[in-house]
């Protein structure tokens, strides 16, 4: 079934009306999936990673790079298990992350900014797109759950912090404020009043003994990498289980 042109599709099982019918079905499913994953994945992320993603002064070196990939690899793994296993579509992770970003950006602009006065730079979301792209590529090229769990899961976690550092590093510039050294992110937290998010709620690195000197982030990233290699197959199977085609007599 060699293709004659690089951009040609492989021979298709349907032609004519049936091809148009199945294409119409594609579009319906795509619209369905778009809103489903914006709604579902965004809710999952908001309620498990939420605050780390909402606020600049939560994006620390210990928990943010650990929790975000760990919670974010869930839906991509589950969706890949359906999209790859049954359709050979290597886009589950990219689709989920794109939907997540759409949902987050809309809310940051129309809720935080327009309704509740926050400058958007205080609520800049993190990106998981490089992690998602690499996860999709590894699954496609390896066609292996084991390889994707190990290499994909690790890459997903390890790429998170370096992909986001170019966005957020500048907020970690130090400022002398109130007779203390703060980051610009901390100053945002101090200045822009949040009645329901007092500083003490932040689950951030408090500082502790470090075997590896000042290198806190790689430790968190590698810890997340390990956990993601376990989370990936767990959610792959969860996705597979949810995508059951069973009909039952009673519920």
């Amino acid at each position: 079934m060699a293709t004659t042109n690089l951009f040609d599709f492989p021979p298709q099982p349907y032609t004519g009306e049936k091809a148009r019918l199945t294409r119409a079905f594609d579009y319906l499913i795509l619209v369905l999936a778009l809103f489903l994953f914006i709604g579902a994945f965004h809710l999952h992320m908001a309620l498990t990673v939420g605050d780390w993603d909402f606020w600049l002064d939560w994006k620390d070196r210990q928990w943010w790079p650990l929790v975000t990939p760990l919670m974010a690899i869930t839906f991509p793994a589950a969706v890949q298990s359906v999209m790859w296993t049954h359709f050979r579509l290597p886009l589950g992770a990219t689709l989920c992350v794109s939907c997540l970003l759409i949902g987050m950006w809309i809310t940051r602009i129309f809720a935080y900014h327009y309704w509740n006065y926050f400058p958007i730079n205080v609520v800049l979301p993190a990106t998981l797109m490089p992690s998602a792209l690499v996860l999709d590529m590894i699954l496609m090229l390896s066609n292996s759950l084991t390889v994707t769990s190990i290499l994909g899961g690790m890459s997903f976690a390890l790429l998170f912090y370096p992909s986001n550092w170019p966005i957020f590093a500048m907020f970690h510039t130090s400022v002398e404020y109130g007779n203390a050294q703060l980051t610009i992110a901390d100053v945002f937290g101090f200045q822009y009043i949040r009645t329901g998010m007092p500083e003490y709620l932040r689950l951030i690195e408090r500082g502790t003994l470090r075997t590896y000197g000042q290198y806190a982030t790689p430790l968190s990233a590698f810890c997340s990498a390990l956990l993601c290699t376990l989370m990936y197959p767990l959610w792959w199977h969860l996705g597979k289980w949810f995508a059951t085609i069973r009909y039952v007599k009673t519920i």
Binding site: P10, R88, T127, L141, E176, A180, F188, F190
Partner: protein, 412 residues
């Protein structure tokens, strides 16, 4: 024609912006009555709270000053104030907080308060969004909620676009906080979203679900991934991590002195005692709340350890102030809706002489107990109340006592 369309689009956009943004900001009060009465009465006991002005233009500052006593009889259901945050109740960042001090020291983070401690505070706010706001200082108490201080109305006028907020970094660079990092952040997001979308479109352009499923089932799954697909995937697999780590390395060299988020708890000691300072000792013997007349009747034994005769001037609890009208010293803000200017009646209002111990009956009576939802106290799991009693000597010097007592309801 084009200009007309452009103007029309601009107008529609402006109208949409106005609609999506919060409407006219004539905000009412905000949730002061949310907490159980015993928390509002027996945790942070605020007094002497003042705002420097009630009319501001954008970029102008208002300073809130005040004092509070941390009640000794702290409710057992509320975790001890080892983690507290001095906040301001306004509808979000309509102001920015530029300075904050506790007991004269800058307070940048959360703080541990000491039971029985006396503190004063100062918060400087800079007007950012026009509107009419009711401003309160308040404490976020960990796992307990927002304990409000007294509030005051403030009007802010002017053009919000004129608001400026710049901060100087340690290296001397001036940063515009309203826009800092926005363009850079958006650029990175756009870059990655374009790449992600390109990958999605690469697949979406071809027949998807039913045909691919059928081909896979019929054993033609290999044809679904073309050699070109694989080549692109390999290129992305190599290029994305290389690019990510390249950009990371460049960022590291651009911000070599970036520091982690600062997480230290501020350590601030209380001021010398101002409440229960040893000059006056008050023991409340019995307290009844008479429901029909909305009166808190307290019988208290007062011992005057000072060298001056004293009289009771005011009882304050959960920001309600019951003033003894026969004294001129207190009740200055009689237009404050939470002040009962004649609310405190004392059966024997004569001076308590130095060294004298006297038992007096006081009635703090006003509908405010009900309207401020403090009368639900005796239906709570903890029906003890507390407050500050202000006494004055003839020279106007003030003696403050924090009292607490269980309350017995009377329904007749």
């Amino acid at each position: 024609m084009f200009i007309h369309i452009k103007n029309y689009v601009a107008n529609v956009f402006l109208a949409l912006t106005c609609l999506l943004a919060a409407g006219p900001n004539n905000a009412y009060a905000h949730g002061e009555k949310a907490l159980e009465p015993f928390i509002r009465m027996r945790t942070i006991q605020w007094y002497d709270v003042h705002l420097t002005q009630d009319k501001l233009k954008i970029n102008e500052e208002v300073t809130i000053t005040g004092k509070f006593h941390v009640a000794e009889d702290w409710p057992r259901s509320v975790p001890k104030p080892d983690m507290a945050y001095l906040n301001v109740a306004v509808p979000g960042p309509v102001f920015i907080r530029t300075e904050r001090y506790l007991s004269g020291q800058p307070l940048m983070s959360s703080v541990a308060l000491k039971l029985g401690g006396d503190y004063d505070f100062k918060i400087v706010l800079k007007a950012r969004i026009p509107g009419r706001y009711h401003i309160h200082p308040f404490f976020n108490l960990h796992d307990a909620g927002a304990v409000m201080g007294p509030g005051q109305w403030v009007d802010v006028t002017g053009d919000p676009a004129a608001f400026t907020n710049s901060v100087k970094t340690i290296s001397g660079e001036t940063v515009d906080m309203e826009s800092f990092g926005f363009a850079n952040g958006v650029s990175w997001h756009v870059f990655w979203i374009v790449l992600g979308t390109a990958w999605l479109l690469w697949w979406v352009r071809r027949p998807l679900f039913i045909p691919r499923f059928k081909m896979l089932k019929s054993g033609h799954g290999d044809a679904l991934i073309t050699p070109l697909d694989k080549t692109i995937a390999k290129a992305i697999l190599v290029a994305v991590p290389l690019f990510v780590f390249g950009a990371y390395a460049m960022t590291e060299s651009q911000y070599p002195n970036a520091i982690p988020l600062q997480a230290a708890l501020d350590q601030i000691e209380p001021l010398p005692p101002a409440v229960n300072a040893g000059k006056v000792n008050i023991k409340v013997i019995r307290t009844e709340y008479r429901v029909p007349v909305r009166a808190m009747n307290m019988v208290a034994q007062i011992h005057n350890y000072s060298d001056q005769p004293i009289r009771i001037g005011e009882f304050a609890s959960a920001n309600l102030r019951f003033i003894n009208p026969s004294l001129g010293q207190s009740g200055k803000n009689e237009d404050d809706t939470l002040v009962a200017a004649k609310g405190l009646v004392i059966d024997d209002d004569s001076l308590i002489q130095p060294g004298e111990t006297k038992t007096v009956s006081m009635a703090a009576a006003d509908a405010l107990w009900e309207t401020e939802k403090l009368d639900g106290l005796f239906r709570d799991a903890d029906s003890r109340m507390g407050g500050l009693l202000f006494l004055y000597d003839p020279s106007g010097r003030r003696y403050i006592a924090s009292i607490s007592t269980s309350v017995i309801p009377k329904f007749d």
